[in-house]
Amino acid sequence: MEAIEQEIIDDFALFDTWEDKYQYIIELGQKLPVFNPEFKTDDYRIKGCQSSVWLDASYSDGRIVFYADSDSTFVKGEIALLMKVLSGRTPQEILDAKLEFIDSIGLRQHMAVTRANGLNAMVKQMKAYALAHSAN
């Protein structure tokens, strides 16, 4: 997992401006598999984000796969980034993830606090899924 985080950090080092960084993130978001619209309900909605974010997860063979969508292009890109690191991992790996790359790539310094909150809420929800499955 740390290898993936390092890869992301290296990728981002290639960009000069944050617009370029976001261009990249937005493209990642657009490549996310389509989220089943039937799951776009309050049950799957993450609270604490200003935008609408839906998150679902499946668990098999000891690994959690996440599915997510957002009406915000920025947020969807950030989700895609998180998924790169967290999706397909074991519950323990997800729980242990420190996600230091978020700070290293400088995602947070460009945007106001509510944004950071959104990202935190997403991480929290992903870890909650992991916790539920690690208890099994």
């Binding site: 976001y22 200003q50 915000s72 292009t73």
Partner: protein, 411 residues
């Protein structure tokens, strides 16, 4: 000089030289809250440094000084609204509290089961929910004046909607999400013809043009200090004397009583009857300073300048493909709401924020307006006389940048 000189005016507002993310601040969220001139900010420090004491109770020097300054603002507000008497000026926390006060006092005594309260489809939540709560409590009905596709009040429907069961009409003067200036004077005339009083939510009007409550013949008129260059936590409810005098108190406590015993309490006269407890003295005094600022500028020229800003921005936005203005009323004040095809409003707002540009995105506490137009929210730029044409050009430039970045690639 025929053009307004925002350069000179801007120097009065310290916050306008802030640099969010190292970029010059472009503050286009004035409908949410205006910025404050230095004189208003200083008045707060000055009060706490040299006059602070509780009012109307002390015999001592400071209390007298604070009481005089406080009472003088009520008189200044009477002039600001051209109210007949300062007794008709009630201090509240803001527009929201004013609506709640009238709903809980006038509303509770006059609205019964089967009665109706009439509002419009473009009300702020603060002019919906208190009436809804009242109607629920009483078994009364909330009725709504519809709006047209330009975001204008359907004036042709008003007369029909005021029935023999209507107990009060409550209407926004200027819509915070559409910018529409409502024909409140005409609505008041129609309502009065049937003996129905009208509450006017002036949260957005007082900042943009002179209001004369006698000319409007409004029964109640409310606004918030923080939207007219004053501090937060202080607002004004104007009410016609006969109505205020007929109303029971809102909250109980000190100041609002004449005498108290365990058997019986008698209430104070208006306006103190509605002002229980130690008021926001510093807020009132700073609001008085804001009124002084309004007097120091030429209001007609300020209004013209804001209209110039609005017209300039409107034309510029209409020139961007995929931008759709929400709220295209013939009469508008300083609010520009819009959506962009395939670009989420929040994303656009976040992008602009990174450029130091403050706009508001979302439903602006007017969810029913958003439902009316079938959209989740808008991007809203709202102007004040200290904004400039250059700021608008910069904003439009960055909007192009936002669209370039955010529009789906192969659309």
């Amino acid at each position: 000089m025929n053009a307004f000189d925002p350069g000179r005016i801007r120097a009065d507002f310290p916050i306008l030289s802030e640099r969010p993310y190292g970029k010059p601040l472009i503050y286009f969220d004035n409908a949410a809250s205006s910025q404050k001139p230095k004189s208003v900010i200083d008045a707060i420090t000055e009060y706490y440094s040299h006059s602070n004491a509780n009012i109307h109770r002390g015999v001592h020097y400071l209390s007298q000084k604070a009481s005089e300054a406080y009472d003088a603002v009520r008189v200044a507000l009477k002039d600001f609204l051209n109210a007949p008497s300062e007794d008709e000026i009630v201090f509240v926390r803001g527009t929201t509290e004013a609506v709640n006060l009238v709903a809980a006092t006038f509303g509770r005594t006059h609205v019964q089961a089967g009665d109706e309260v009439l509002i419009s489809a473009m009300e702020h939540h603060s002019n919906i929910v208190p009436w809804q709560m009242l109607c629920e409590e009483k078994g009364a009905k909330l009725r709504v004046i519809p709006i047209d596709d330009h975001g204008q009040l359907r004036l042709d429907q008003v007369d029909n909607l005021i029935t023999e069961r209507t107990r009060i009409v409550s209407l926004v003067h200027v819509s915070n999400s559409l910018g529409t200036i409502n024909p409140v004077k005409e609505v008041i005339r129609l309502a009065h013809a049937k003996g129905v009083p009208v509450f006017v939510d002036g949260a957005q009007s007082t900042a943009h043009f002179q209001v004369d409550v006698q000319d409007l013949d409004a029964d109640f008129f409310a606004f918030s200090g923080h939207k007219i260059l004053g501090p937060t936590g202080i607002g004004v409810l104007y009410g016609k004397r006969a109505l205020l005098e007929s109303m029971p108190p809102y909250q109980g406590g000190g100041e609002m009583i004449r005498s108290v015993s365990f058997e019986r309490t008698t209430y104070n006269d208006i306006p103190l009857r509605f002002e229980a407890g130690t008021p926001n003295i510093a807020g009132v005094i700073a609001l008085g300073e804001a009124l002084r600022y309004w007097e120091s500028i030429d209001r007609d020229t300020a209004v013209q300048w804001e209209n110039t800003l609005l017209a300039h921005a409107t034309v510029a936005l209409q020139g961007i493909s995929g931008v759709q203005l929400i709220g295209t009323a013939a009469e508008k004040a300083s609010v520009l709401s819009f959506v962009i095809d395939e670009v989420n409003a929040l994303d656009a707002g976040m992008y602009l924020d990174t450029k130091g540009i403050a706009v508001r995105t979302g439903h602006h506490c007017t969810e029913p307006v958003m439902h009316r137009f079938g959209i989740p929210g808008t991007i809203r730029a709202s102007f004040m006389f200290y904004n400039t044409l250059e700021e608008i050009d910069e904003f439009v430039n960055h909007l192009h940048g936002a669209i370039r970045l955010l529009r789906p690639l192969n659309a």
